[in-house]
Amino acid sequence: MTAFIVRRLLQAALVVVGVVTLVFFLIRVSGDPASLGVSLEENRTQEEIEAEYRRVQKQLGLDRHILIQYVVFWGRAARGDFGYSFRYSIPATQLIIQRLPNSLRLGLLAAVIGLAAGLPLGIAAALNRGSILDNLATGVSVFGFVVPQFWLAIVLIIIFSVHLGWLPTSGTGSWKHIILPAFTLSLGLVATVARMSRSGMLEALSQDYVRTARAKGLSERLVIFRHALRNGSISVITVVVSSLPHLLGTVVVVEVVFAWPGVGNLMAQAVANRDYPVVFLDVLLFGTLTVLIFLVMDLLYAMVDPRIRHR
């Protein structure tokens, strides 16, 4: 088991390094932060502008060969130094640490809402297959999948903030501030969880052991909760856990629209401004989180199913 864990950890680290490497090189294709620091607004000559460009490049440490920059990046990262944000002139780690609690709060609440709403909805739909409830669950699922978060956010703001005046439009401050963003963020999760728990439940209900249980004369309640739900929930948990990284992606949109001061919002700003140190650290964080989630899932499987360990 230890060998398995070590092997998976190494693989995970490799994935994270790969992702960061990819971003490290790809982001340069899309624009240069040094150019953003050069003023074009004055009556300058081409030579003056180029001189200033080179100076800014040097200040940002971008004048060296890209491979050297890459080595330096990992050398510093190994010591926990991810450099200073180009834009804010403070350590990138400090920025992320400042923002992380906000994003965690938002993500956790969204996950809780997603489970609390999605699971019962999916199970109820499966138990009442073909009923109005089932159709409703399917409707919610489809809505959750197709509706763009950006649009939903604006509509929710118009209804609950402008017209009803119940909730604030954006920002942080009170417990009320988190409701709209968390709800918006959770909708995709509700849809996934409802859909998957419905099909998981349906699958379980069609299994032989359910028929056997029924044949034994067990009460329907026992059949559902002891036999079907317990077995069906395994696939649900898989889906829920694996859709958590998806939350990380949508959190960017939701945080920007609701001006929520989290890591996602920071990431959007950093990408727009080519703030490399912040982008890299953000990617590292998101990548690590994603890989960790899958790692934990793998380890849990391995514990449950010995065959996986020895593969």
């Binding site: 899309s30 624009g31 240069d32 932060p33 150019s35 953003l36 620091g37 050069v38 003023s39 074009l40 607004e41 004055e42 009556n43 300058r44 000559t45 081409q46 003056e48 502008i49 180029e50 001189a51 200033e52 460009y53 100076r55 800014v56 200040q59 940002l60 440490g61 200073y84 180009f86 834009r87 804010y88 002139s89 403070i90 920025l95 400042q98 604006i154 703001i157 118009i158 903030s161 402008v162 005046g165 604030p168 439009t169 954006s170 920002g171 942080t172 920007v256 629209v257 609701f258 001006a259 001061p261 919002n265 920071l266 700003q269 727009a272 401004n273 080519r274």
Partner: protein, 747 residues
């Protein structure tokens, strides 16, 4: 003498009413060329010197007209209207109206539930039609009555009109309305209602505003009677004197109006902005939007004056060339400059603050643009002491590196307290910024909010609002929603399409202009050969209906440019270039055929997307109009930093039209980087201009360069980028300057 004052006062009042009415009645008319502004100056001087209170009233009317105007009359338009009315009023009525006349006009208007057209008719007819030096009140009265009867035979009330219009507008309010839609709706509604060109709200506002304005003016007149005699002669002298824009009157009066209403202001407000500064170190802050914040915290040695378009001393006492020298500038500091932390600024401190800021760290990569004229950008620290020397405690000498005409730009520098700066260093400064401005820094969370509080020891006028929280809300739709929900007191960069709705809900709108000009530059000397043909470039200009784009894409806000980068009123504005390439697709086709492109051609182009105000919609519209004359565009939309990088490396596709924009900071009027600079004739003129120290001669040279660019069709000039503020009715008088500074009224 007393009579004379009354005359001017009355003329001013009539002018205000007429302007108001006319502004609204003619809101959708084609813009006409602005007339000479001496009459505007006349109003301004007359009212401000003789009776400053009535200036406020005129302004109130003008502001009301601007606010109730869904199309948002531009300042230039209002200015023109005021000028027109005054000209005609004076021409027709040399002896002037009496107070009783005006009273009579106004009381008639309210009693009769007049439409704005009636009021206009009254003013126009009564003033123009009666040549007699004394107006007979009875005559006037009968004119009014017949005007009312003609215009509103059924005697429809303002409320009735209002209901009709509102029903119409809300019936059409199913999606996002364009300005054109609203115009159509309103026009239709009004036509149904009274066969007129006005909404009920406008009528009501006109009547109310004229009533209020006149009553107050009359009261003031009575109170001021004693000092009237002396003031009147001064007013008359001043009136005949000179030439400034009516914008001045607007600002002067706005301040007065704001001050009057000070008591009602909230103690603390929240402002929602689209972008917050990344950094609170003065001078390092690069983005325009962040000027809202930086100018509340920091004073500048000198600042761009909205009215003159020139940089003028602020913390500096004065500056100018040392007598007899053409390369050494002397700056005298005011002696009482104190920072929020109590530090005092003198010449040694200023030099020290330059030194500290110039240390070559990434944190200050963006600093010191203006100082490049003095200090070699490649060796700032090394050359600093050659360039800047302390003469005495409050005097410094700056030696220019080469002859440059824009030397005053360096004085837009925001001084920092040297001892404090030395203690915490530029990197830590962002968390403890200290300036000389009216507001002190309290705290901030990057890209989330900035909290400021009024500095009670500020030596200048004290702003009426105590605490300001500036929040970062990147989505414009969310800013508007937050304003509606009462969460924000003021929002910036309001989308033009939201303006009519916000007005109808009772919000105030301030539409400010800016010094940022949008234009499409042509790469004349690139590898794309057809672009080198002036006929092709001219065809590209003729093919575009920029007036229509200005109305639809910019919502008629900002100022339409006239074949030059400088907006009307700016330094070096060349009025001869007005209407040079009016929309004429036929002519465009002819020119293209002449140049040998009868079958059309395809031009490679790259422009930015969302770097500037509605840059992509503008380019889309232009592309579609070029297509109509057979010009296809191979268009690439680039992300901001990518576009800049290509621009700097000169790797943008040749033949390009890059959407760009430029400041015109006082003398910096002819920047055409990326295209015109490659033109040897332009270069020669630009270099020649750089050595001219005489302002008038330099302005003449700027005009010449503008004409050269226009004649050679080197760029397609669009409009200046507007600054649209929206805020609650409890904060009158808030404005923004042409360099995006927020102006809060003082107590």
């Amino acid at each position: 003498m007393g009579h004379s004052l009354l005359k001017w006062r009355s003329v001013a009042i009539v002018a205000a009413i007429a302007a108001l009415v006319f502004a609204i009645a003619c809101g959708s008319d084609e813009p006409e060329p602005a007339p000479a502004v001496d009459t505007a100056k006349l109003i301004q001087d007359a009212v401000s010197q003789a009776q400053s209170a009535s200036a406020a009233e005129i302004q109130k009317s003008v502001a009301a007209a601007m606010a109730t105007q869904p199309q948002g009359a531009s300042a230039a338009e209002i200015q023109r209207l005021v000028s027109d009315s005054v000209t005609s009023a004076i021409a027709a009525q040399p002896a002037g109206l009496t107070r009783a006349d005006v009273e009579s006009i106004v009381s008639q208007s309210t009693a009769g539930q007049l439409s704005a057209a009636d009021v206009k008719a009254i003013v126009d007819q009564s003033v123009r039609a009666l040549p007699a030096p004394e107006i007979d009140v009875n005559q006037l009265s009968s004119l009014v009555n017949s005007a009312v009867a003609d215009a509103v035979p059924e005697g429809i009330s303002a409320d009735e009109i209002s209901q009709i219009v509102q029903a119409q507008v809300s019936a059409g309010l199913t999606g996002t309305l364009t300005r054109g839609d609203i115009e159509d709706l309103v026009a239709q509604a009004v036509e149904d209602a009274v066969g007129d060109q006005l909404t009920a709200d406008q009528v009501t506002t006109i009547v109310n505003a004229s009533l209020v304005a006149t009553n107050q003016a009359i009261e003031n007149a009575a109170a001021d009677a004693a000092q009237a005699a002396a003031a009147a002669s001064a007013a008359q002298t001043a009136a005949s004197a000179a030439q400034t824009s009516a914008q001045q009157a607007v600002t002067v009066a706005q301040d007065a109006q704001a001050a009057a209403a000070a008591a009602a202001y909230p103690e603390s407000i929240t402002i929602a902005v689209g972008a917050l500064p990344a950094n609170l170190v003065a001078n390092v802050i690069p983005s325009l939007q962040s000027r809202i914040t930086s100018r509340l915290i920091y004073g500048q040695l000198a600042a761009l004056n909205d009215q003159t378009g020139q940089i003028e001393p602020e913390l500096a006492e004065s500056y100018g060339f040392v007598e007899g020298s053409t390369d050494t500038v002397e700056l005298k500091l005011k002696k009482n400059i104190v920072f929020h932390n109590g530090e005092h600024l003198d010449a040694h401190g200023l030099l020290k603050s330059y030194e500290l800021m110039m240390s070559e760290t990434a944190e200050v990569a963006w600093a010191f643009r203006g100082l490049d004229d003095y200090v070699d950008p490649a060796d700032r620290i090394g050359t600093l002491h050659n360039a800047v020397t302390v003469v005495d405690d409050y005097t410094l000498h700056y030696k220019l590196r080469h002859q440059v005409d824009r030397w005053a730009n360096a004085f837009t520098y925001m001084p920092l307290p040297p001892a404090h700066l030395e203690e915490i260093g530029p990197a830590g400064y962002s968390d403890q910024p200290v300036g000389t401005g009216p507001y002190k820094f309290v705290e901030w969370e990057r890209d989330n909010y900035i909290q400021l509080t009024r500095w009670d020891d500020y030596p200048g006028p004290k702003p009426v609002i105590k605490d300001i929280r500036i929040r970062h809300v990147p989505e414009a739709a969310v800013r508007v929603a937050g304003l509606r929900a009462g969460e924000f007191d003021l929002i910036t960069a309001t989308p033009p399409e939201n303006v009519p709705g916000l007005i109808s809900e009772g919000f105030q709108i301030f539409v400010g202009d800016s010094t940022q000009s949008m234009y499409i530059g042509f790469n004349i000397y690139g590898r794309f050969e057809p672009m080198a043909d002036v006929r092709v470039r001219q065809a590209l200009l003729y093919a575009v209906d920029m007036d229509a784009m200005y109305e639809t894409i910019a919502g008629g806000y900002g100022t339409r440019l006239q074949c030059q980068i400088v907006a009307p009123g700016g330094f070096g504005y060349n009025e001869d270039l007005v209407g040079r390439y009016d929309y004429d697709p036929e002519k465009a086709r002819e020119l293209l055929a002449e140049a040998g492109y009868a079958d059309g051609l395809t031009i490679p182009a790259s422009v930015t997307n969302a770097r500037y105000f509605r840059d992509r919609p503008l380019m889309d519209a232009i592309v579609s109009q070029w297509a109509q004359v057979g010009v296809r565009v191979d268009l690439a939309y680039l992300e901001s930093s990518e576009w800049l990088q290509q621009l700097i490396n000169s790797t943008l596709p040749d033949g390009v039209m890059n959407i760009g924009l430029n400041w015109y900071l006082a003398d910096n009027t002819t920047s055409m980087w990326g295209n015109g600079l490659a033109d040897p004739a332009f270069k020669e003129m630009r270099d020649a201009k750089a050595t001219i120290t005489d302002t008038a001669a330099r302005e003449a040279e700027v005009k010449k360069i503008a004409a050269h660019i226009c004649d050679n069709a080197q760029a397609l000039h669009a409009y200046t980028i507007p600054s649209v503020l929206a805020f609650g009715p409890n904060m009158p008088g808030i404005t923004s300057s042409i360099s995006f500074e927020l102006k809060i009224p003082s107590e």
